[in-house]
Symmetry: C2
Subunit: 359 residues, 2 copies
Amino acid sequence: MTDGNILFIFKRLTNGDYLKTTIKEVAEAAQVSTATVSLALNNNNRISSDTQNKVLKIAKKLNYYPSRQARALVTKTTGNIGFILTQNHFLKTEPFYTKIFLGSTFQAQNQDYYVFLNVIDPDFSSEDQLPRFVLERNIDGIILAGKIPELFLNLLSKHKIPSVFIDYFPNEGKYPAVVIDNIQGGFLATEHLINLGHTDIAFVGGEIEHPSISNRLIGYKSALDKHNLAINDNLILVNHLETNKANGYLAGEKLFAKEENFSAVFCSNDTMALGLIDYLRENKQSMINELSIIGFDDIEGDILNSPSLSTIRVNKIELGVEAIKLLVNAIEDKEYTNKKIVFPVELIKRESTKIKINP
Amino acid sequence: MTDGNILFIFKRLTNGDYLKTTIKEVAEAAQVSTATVSLALNNNNRISSDTQNKVLKIAKKLNYYPSRQARALVTKTTGNIGFILTQNHFLKTEPFYTKIFLGSTFQAQNQDYYVFLNVIDPDFSSEDQLPRFVLERNIDGIILAGKIPELFLNLLSKHKIPSVFIDYFPNEGKYPAVVIDNIQGGFLATEHLINLGHTDIAFVGGEIEHPSISNRLIGYKSALDKHNLAINDNLILVNHLETNKANGYLAGEKLFAKEENFSAVFCSNDTMALGLIDYLRENKQSMINELSIIGFDDIEGDILNSPSLSTIRVNKIELGVEAIKLLVNAIEDKEYTNKKIVFPVELIKRESTKIKINP
DNA sequence: GTGAAAGCGCTAACAT
DNA sequence: ATGTTAGCGCTTTCAC
């Protein structure tokens, strides 16, 4: 069908429909062999610059681009990168891992790769199969973001595909990974509260078994330690639940049920902090301007309202970008590496943390 | 290197590194020809169920999966879908199009496709090239999300690739597309304000040349019309600027400079509404509880704070999902279609809209 | 119902 | 410096 000056066809294409110049046609037009065309296009120095120029010119004129499939079949490289994410991370309203993914996708394009996202079941079982792109050998490398089931990793390892972890890596062994400096983040957040005069500071965790969260707790403790403040276990709430808004609300309930004294709270991520603020708004309205609250992640700073949330900023996009750089290096063997890149975090002071009001 | 029980290799792979059973090996093990294996695997009815079962069993035992590249070379289908987004849409902090993309990505996986994202320059020029996946014939279909440069569309059309538009489509001609019911949304938002007793309702636009925004304005006008309220052009702000938070703030300045009477504002998207609220907080604190404000999009409802924003909800994920369904139908020729799917929107009442206080 | 063989579009030995 | 040729791993006629 033709509409205006733009034409779109919605039927299975027959071969002839594509603008599909082949290497053979270029070879004929240039009066050389297909091998010569291939060498010329791949910048092989065995070719004279005269013929190379001739070939390149004709290739351009004929609008020739080598078929990825054909090339992949012989070179065993696809130009694709797989990105693995568990479903719970993918579905979170808090766009933490998906932002990382977008960073990776963007950087991949800059380095001439494309990224396939594959969402996997967090309860990956021995009956489950690896992603199709692994089984069909349709990727050159893999990025593993967030906590990935060990069973999956075991299976994957048999395929010996260059891999980079983001924000998590298996306990044992050394793998290239891009991680956040969670300890430093926990420290910065807590010290910020201390500097404001707070001495009784609660920690709200959740999913404490995740190294990111437990490291934030370590940072919290070390800040208290540095400033000679006692660690009060009653003020440390780790409920092993998902770190989301609802559980932040719940943490508010639990904290105030304790009848402990506290004037500040460090929440291990922003969504929990927002849940806690919700709790205050609904149940302890007067506390909103008294209690200091700091989160972690700096989610969508642009669209948050009052009171704006102090937090620890994590550059999610950059995490994704760096992972791609690491991975592409590994794939192209420019640099054998299994290093970990630790990303610094940044303290963002906003309205939700304020100087302690003396009682 | 071996660490624990997991092994990762970070060097360019030699062929032998893959678990790469080929069709030939399966054929030998099953004592049949490769043609038979292929037919059996592709469920061709020319094969006896006895041999098919035998082949399938051996294929499973040998952990055989056909190579995507080899198959693609002959079938001319890749199992990949391209997703086009302009850079400004990709980079927006408001994750509107990126959410659509995630929806598409997810649905594609369900239908056994993978999605390649390609971010393009909104100022696509005649020197620019189409995405690599088009030139190298590495996709079976394309999704075009948001406003795409016409030059790009013209070039693309030559390739005759099945395509689906999301949230936008060229003026002329008929293309399959998945769009939001913007008129209805504008109507619902405005009528909601009218029902609360407001009669002087401002419209804050921006990017009015975008059909989505202009349709919201049409809905706004028709609601006023239905309720016999005069349309006051002085209260319609269309500044041709990007619909972001900063311009929402600016709109606040402009509105209050006008010295017109108004008790409610319909902002053509949520970020503008948030910018307007920022303006009030900083300059018209007293108005925050007086002025009713409604947005459009329902961005990240989960993480927004007070006053919570009334809005028109758009299911972004579903938009992406439906586009994939349409596209895959087109690719697999199950259904020749060039229909447009218009997505209904939903009025979400929250704190930012309230009954009109009489002066 | 099954096999032989050609060929998809490239790259890479090996010749020349 | 360039051409010849053999595959890469599949699918698909066309025989039998």
